[in-house]
């Protein structure tokens, strides 16, 4: 298999296809107390992230919207990953996720076990043009947490 084909397999893992075909937590959340919009106008990717935060904990998370497979799967896996976690831990997860996607040395850095299933996005690093797809949901999540009014963008 050529280098590009193995990179492509790394990018499009079965978990990503699964979450693209059947996104989890893919609905509005009427009882949400936090929400924010994300929009990459060049791609056309658009989503809304909903959160219910009780105390310092994300007790529920969901999203609606549309985008490419990477963007949809990222939002889906994100909502699964953050449910039940303290807000501070969620923000730390975002930083670790972002580092994995953008830092070439992160591959050798084994000390990021907390990423769990999110590690399937490590292959995005080989496709710099697609980093913005994988991070849109996370930037939108961050905006929802801090209560930002302007839509999140990663392009």
């Amino acid at each position: 298999m050529s280098n590009i084909d193995s990179n492509l397999r790394e990018l499009y893992q079965e978990v990503i296809f699964d979450h693209n075909r059947q996104p989890r937590n893919f609905h509005a959340l009427p009882e949400a107390d936090h929400h924010a919009d994300g929009h990459n106008p060049l791609c056309g990717d658009q989503l809304t992230v909903y959160l219910r935060i009780a105390g310092d904990k994300v007790v529920d998370a969901s999203f609606v919207g549309h985008g490419c497979a990477i963007s949809t799967a990222s939002a889906s896996l994100m909502t699964e990953a953050i449910k039940g976690k303290p807000v501070a831990e969620v923000e730390a997860l975002f930083r670790a996720f972002h580092t994995m996607l953008t830092d070439a040395n992160a591959a050798e850095n084994e000390a990021q076990p907390e990423l769990g299933k999110l590690a399937v996005f490590a292959g995005v690093r080989e496709f710099p043009a697609r980093v913005k797809c994988a991070t849109l949901a996370w930037h939108t999540l961050h905006n929802a947490i801090i209560g930002a009014q302007a839509p999140a963008r990663t392009e």
């Binding site: 050529s2 492509l8 990018l11 499009y12 985008g67 497979a69 990477i70």
Partner: protein, 424 residues
């Protein structure tokens, strides 16, 4: 694959092959270890050796500033620059070389008309007629102008096939219409608009007509006098020339009445602190040192295209478009966006359950370069209720092998996504 090939043979389409890919050095470089299949000509075309060499030669043998030196080299560079203007004039059959203004590209040409002619001409309540097909560069300059003048924009809608609604055009055109700004060829769909007919109608109500020719000049013969329009804008880089050089053609009478839009050297006659007087067109609109090397290389591109014959290129691309349209339509799950009867070599399409950006990444892994996205035509994407499309756009060096590579790469994407139909 075999099924597709057989289907095509039944259609008796026999695309021509110009066999000129070897003129373009970049086409010999592999991408991801694979043959580069360049199908993003709507974004920019590749450059033949003749163009690359013309730019190189200018800097090695002829470089000097123009219109100002008494030394030999300056006169030589000026002669080359003005000779390029004449080459452009002949290429588009303009009446005079002085009607050819060099710009950075189509975008700057349209902005020039908006800020010079438009600001000087339009008043509150005047109407600018655009179409849903327009590229952002033929929308936003007019929106800026409307903010400055109080003029308003009206938009001619299109059919599901991507053709202008001519009844709506007639209904929207009125004595209030001061300008019709329309694309010759849609960059996103390939639709060729009936510009001569629309111009005649616009002139009947006294409107001025600007044609965005960015996607047209490389693909069929453009004769500005036959079209009858008032302004025609295009870029060198979509015509196998370099980036950073383009053309605004305008009728002599219109250009003569237009004020400058940028001030600086080269565009003046006299300058004093009490006031300045301006040079005649086209120099009036060419403030500062222009892209001299770019103009020379653009002329080389025009010479290259003319030597092949623009009609021959048009015929080749037309045949290849028919071939590619049939090949894409034969893939289950592929839907073409833009099926106008009169089309240039642009294929916009959607592949069922594969987002255009995912498709673009997978095609790229096969060396197939296409554009994925909204193609700087967001209102058009909104019209079709889609976030974007995948777009393959043809150039003179493309052939059936490139289309076969495109089809194979789409199959690869469908295999990867598990969406490939096994049905016959």
């Amino acid at each position: 694959m075999n099924a597709v090939t057989e289907d095509l043979s039944v259609n008796k389409l026999t695309p021509t092959r110009l066999g000129l890919a070897h003129d373009f050095p970049i086409l010999a470089r592999p991408v991801h270890g694979r043959r580069l299949v360049y199908l993003d000509n709507g974004a920019t075309t590749q450059k033949p050796e003749a163009v690359i060499e013309a730019e190189r030669r200018f800097y090695r043998e002829s470089n000097a500033n123009i219109h100002r030196g008494v030394h030999w080299l300056s006169q030589h560079a000026t002669d080359l620059y003005e000779a390029s203007r004449v080459t452009v004039q002949r290429f588009i059959n303009a009446a005079h070389a002085d009607e050819v203004v060099f710009t950075r590209g189509t975008t700057e040409a349209i902005n020039l008309v908006a800020q010079s002619w438009g600001r000087n001409t339009l008043r509150a309540g005047d109407e600018i007629l655009l179409t849903t097909l327009e590229h952002h560069s033929n929308i936003v300059p007019w929106q800026l102008l409307c903010e400055q003048t109080g003029a308003v924009i009206k938009v001619v809608p299109i059919s599901d096939a991507g053709e202008l609604d001519l009844d709506a055009f007639d209904a929207l055109l009125s004595e209030r219409t001061r300008l019709v700004a329309i694309t010759h060829v849609s960059n996103a769909l390939g639709t060729i608009n009936p510009v001569a007919m629309l111009t005649a109608k616009a002139h009947a109500v006294g409107a001025t007509v600007l044609v965005d020719g960015a996607q047209a000049v490389a693909h069929h013969k453009v004769d500005v006098q036959a079209l009858g329009c008032d302004f025609y804008a295009f870029s060198g880089h979509k015509l196998y020339g370099p980036t950073g050089i383009g053309v605004l053609w305008g009728r002599a009478g219109l250009l003569a009445a237009m004020p400058p839009w940028q001030g600086g050297g080269d565009m003046i006659r006299t300058v004093s602190f009490e006031g300045s007087t301006y040079a005649d067109a086209p120099q009036r609109f060419e403030a500062g040192t222009p892209n001299i090397a770019g103009s020379v290389a653009l002329a080389a591109a025009i010479d290259y295209v003319s030597a092949i014959g623009i009609e021959r290129i048009a015929a080749h691309e037309h045949a290849l478009l028919a071939h590619a349209t049939a090949a894409l339509a034969a893939i289950p799950g592929v839907r073409l966006i833009g099926t106008a009867a009169n089309k240039a070599g642009i294929l916009s399409f959607m592949v069922e359950r594969i987002h255009p950006h995912d498709l673009g990444t997978i095609l790229d892994s096969e060396g197939v370069a296409i554009r994925a996205g909204h193609h700087c035509a967001m209102p058009l994407m909104t019209r079709f209720k889609i976030p974007g499309t995948a777009r393959a756009s043809l150039g003179l060096y493309n052939d059936e092998a490139d289309i076969a590579a495109l089809v194979a790469a789409i199959h690869k994407a469908q295999d990867l996504f598990g969406t490939r139909s096994t049905a016959p």
